[in-house]
């Protein structure tokens, strides 16, 4: 299991567009990717769930990656967050 935390820098937070991109990116991996913020969790592949978390600029999101390709998945997801959020 791999984890990392990321503080959102994008001023509009994780909204429809980034959530869609995130879900799409997360689907590429075999591993289960889970987002967590203030006790709320969401599967990274679930668009509505991600949006439902209401992540805003400045919020810190904990990402958990678990599965066969967790090394690569965790690295790529971190890169995704940095690039898009």
């Amino acid at each position: 299991m791999k984890t990392f935390s990321y503080t959102i820098k994008d001023e509009i937070g994780i909204h429809a567009r980034p959530a869609g991109l995130l879900a799409k990116a997360a689907k590429e991996f075999e591993s289960t990717i889970t987002l967590e913020k203030d006790g709320k969790t969401a599967a990274a592949t679930k668009l509505m769930a991600i949006m439902g978390m209401g992540v805003k600029c400045g919020d810190t999101v904990n990402v958990t990656v678990e599965g066969a390709d967790e090394e690569k998945a965790a690295a790529d997801m971190e890169a995704f967050f940095q690039a898009n959020l």
């Binding site: 509009i12 429809a16 869609g20 991109l21 969790t41 668009l47 439902g52 209401g54």
Partner: protein, 714 residues
């Protein structure tokens, strides 16, 4: 107290459903088979050429008749076992075995006492019968029910009993058949002395009937119906049909006794001009309510059922109604409501009695082989000619009866809120499918995972200690709780229930057909150590709640439904834009999912379907909805409008709110938004696109809100 009785009756009624489901088939076999193997029928219609004993057709009909009656003759046993199964809290298979044993033991005890008294001859006429080869008292289904109820009570008390070490082999469930054997040996002895007194009383009533003319016929009809559940109707009506109590008459020089014998003698006689109503008054009354009344009652129950349940109950009710209509076997239909709604049965008895009286007054002379279905009406009424039988009155009164039964039953069911089949008391509540539907399926597949649905249910029911007994029927979880105040309906609904119903200490949580899975999961969960730490699970659950919106198509998973098309309706007035043509890659490349868009002409966003609001975005430019069918819908007003930060938008709904198609969700100032330089194209996205086979636009060009917009195939 009343609620407790209601609860028990309801469970008894439910436990009946298993044997009842068999009755229509058995009834048709018996009805058709016996009508055409009846000697009188064969002779009257000169069918002797094709239907004769030993012939192929006769043998086939005979097999039908005999196998059908095998079911009816052993109804008491079926009920002894069925009620025991239904009423037992756990280890139901043991209750079934015990029910069968207790039934055999009770009847055998009676049998020995009958033999000791001098055999059947020493008993009152029509008071005995043979059950599974055991000569016993005629107790009908009632005999089975007292066994079933008693066995279940013993079972629930003793199935966990711990015996001293030496006897420990006989402890637990093994103790149940043992104690049932002993108890029902005694019950058998008691019944042997008690039941004949009841039977005698009933026989006395017969004399009363005979001496009171039309009113007597009415009373006869009421009693005949009312006694059916107790198996006492044979004691009551057989004397009328077969002995001089039903009259005696000289026909073609022979003295004939008994109503049915008189009718068939008249049928065989060439000199009969009109059938004697003094005999048929004990029979003809069955036709109007069996052919017309009860089927109309079935239709009323069908109409009163919740729309989504109609399909399920429709099959049961239709077959039961047909059986009653065709063969005059009414038990399948009557047993569907007698226990859940005894009052309806009482009304039915009164109406049935009235039917006998009307037939008597109108001089209708139609007899029957054994009951009043369309087959017998045709053979012994219509084909005999109206001159002889006045059968036309059966149709006239029958049609009136159909109307009366329909309205009386429908009125009673809806006004008194009776729980006839397929009827959930909260019939306004739309069925909601939530993530828990999925979880139920998921957790049944994955062994180790935390079962948050069960945790929710358990929490909603006030914890493990609060449960006295958990059971389920076709669509509901039925729980008896210790303290009703500890039950939280909202948590139960959150677990995916479409409704919660309270009756005293009984709680019914309605889940639909998947309830058996919910129940198994709940039971498994209660055994696990996790169930002691509900709050921790539910805390992490809160996050997951948002996370795990249905990922499988959660709706209409009943295989019967197969391909189902869900329709999303237009969320705005305007013109349709293909998603591919929306000026934003995230939408046009379907990154968020497939869907469709509208270029609005009015600044109002409406709900495209029934469902609940998942979340209204803080910036009020978008809203996500979970439809009643489980479709996850995202509505996003304009392109990049998140940057407006909520300016020019006004939300009219809140998170979690239930909505109906066409409800106003958000209104927005089109001119102002356009003035800031944003496009107003509003996509409707199916966020769980992967769950569906195909998603396709239903229209092109101009649409008005509420028009069919998008078709989703499962």
């Amino acid at each position: 107290m009343k609620d407790k009785i209601f609860g028990v009756l309801q469970r008894v009624g439910r436990s009946f459903m298993l044997p009842i489901a068999l009755l229509p088939v058995a009834g048709l076999l018996l009805g058709i088979g016996s009508s055409f193997t009846n000697q009188t029928t064969i002779e009257t219609y000169n069918l002797g050429g094709i239907i004769y004993e030993g012939g192929l057709l006769y043998t086939i009909l005979d097999i039908m008749s005999q196998t059908g009656s095998a079911v009816f003759n052993n109804l008491a046993l079926l009920f002894a076992m069925g009620v025991a199964i239904g009423m037992a809290k756990k280890e139901k298979e043991v209750a079934a075995l015990s029910g069968a044993i207790a039934f055999l033991v009770m009847n055998t005890a009676i049998s020995v006492l009958i033999a000791a008294k001098g055999g059947i001859e020493a008993m009152a006429e029509n008071s005995t019968t043979s059950v599974l080869g055991i000569t016993t008292l005629q107790m009908g289904v009632f005999g089975g029910i007292i066994v079933g109820l008693g066995v279940a009570a013993l079972h629930n008390k003793f199935y966990k009993i711990e015996l001293p070490q030496v006897l420990s082999f006989f402890g637990g469930t093994r103790f149940v058949p043992i104690v049932c054997t002993v108890v029902y040996l005694i019950v058998g002895i008691v019944m042997f002395y008690l039941w004949p007194i009841v039977q005698l009383g009933i026989a006395q009533l017969g004399v009363l009937v005979l001496n009171s003319g039309y009113i007597g016929t009415w009373v006869y009809g009421i009693l005949e119906r009312a006694l059916i559940p107790f198996g006492l109707h044979h004691v009551f009506y057989m004397p009328f049909w077969q002995t001089e109590l039903g009259g005696s008459m000289v026909i073609d020089g022979n003295t004939v006794m008994g109503a049915q014998n008189i009718f068939f003698a008249e049928l065989a006689s060439k000199s009969t001009e009109v059938f004697s109503v003094s005999a048929t008054r004990f029979m003809s009354g069955k036709f109007p309510f069996m052919i017309f009344g009860l089927p109309a009652a079935a239709f009323a129950m069908y109409k009163a059922a919740r729309p989504e349940k109609r399909k399920v109950v429709g099959g049961l009710l239709l077959s039961a109604a047909l059986t009653s209509m065709l063969t005059g076997i009414t038990e399948p239909l009557e047993f569907t409501f007698i226990f859940v709604a005894p009052l309806m049965y009482a009304v039915h008895c009164v109406l049935a009695g009235l039917s006998y009286m009307l037939m008597h007054i109108l001089n209708v002379g139609v007899g029957m082989t054994f009951s009043g279905g369309a087959i017998d009406l045709t053979l012994f009424g219509i084909l005999q000619g109206n001159q002889k039988t006045h059968w036309i009155w059966i149709v006239i009164i029958g049609l009136i009866y159909a109307v009366v039964y329909y309205f009386v039953f429908y009125f009673m069911i809806t006004k008194l809120n009776l729980t006839t089949p397929g009827r959930e008391p909260d019939d306004i509540e739309p069925k909601l499918y939530r993530r828990s539907d999925v979880d139920a399926a998921k957790s049944s597949g994955s062994a180790g995972g935390t079962d948050t649905v069960s945790a929710l249910i358990l929490k909603g029911l006030g914890g493990k200690e609060n449960l006295s007994d958990v059971d389920c029927c076709a669509t509901r979880l039925r729980i008896t709780v210790v303290d009703v105040k500890k039950v939280t309906d909202s948590l139960l609904k959150k677990s995916g229930a479409s409704g919660v119903l309270h009756k005293g200490n009984g709680v019914q949580v309605i889940y639909g057909p998947r309830v058996s899975v919910v129940k198994s999961n709940l039971e498994a969960f209660m055994e696990s150590p996790q169930s002691d730490d509900l709050d921790r699970i539910l805390q992490s659950e809160k996050g997951e709640e948002a996370a795990g919106k249905p990922q499988e198509k959660p709706v209409e998973k009943e295989p019967a439904d197969g391909q189902k098309t869900i329709v999303m309706c237009a969320h705005q007035n305007g013109s349709v834009v293909n998603l591919e043509d929306v000026a934003d890659d995230v939408f046009s490349q379907k990154i968020l999912g497939d869907g469709i868009a509208i270029e609005p002409s009015v600044g109002k966003l409406f709900a495209p379907c029934d469902g609940s609001v998942d979340s209204v975005f803080d910036t009020k430019h978008a809203v996500s909805i979970v439809s009643a069918d489980g479709v996850e819908v995202l509505l996003h007003i304009g392109i990049d409008t998140v940057k407006l930060g909520g300016k020019y938008f006004e939300a009219h709904v809140a998170n979690g709110q239930e909505i109906k198609k066409g409800d106003l969700l958000i209104s927005f100032d089109m001119d102002a938004i356009a003035g800031e330089g944003y496009k107003l194209t509003t996509p409707l996205i199916i966020a769980n696109t992967d769950d569906y086979a195909a998603i396709a636009p239903a229209v092109k060009g101009k649409v008005a809100a509420g028009d069919e917009l998008l078709k989703i195939n499962q």
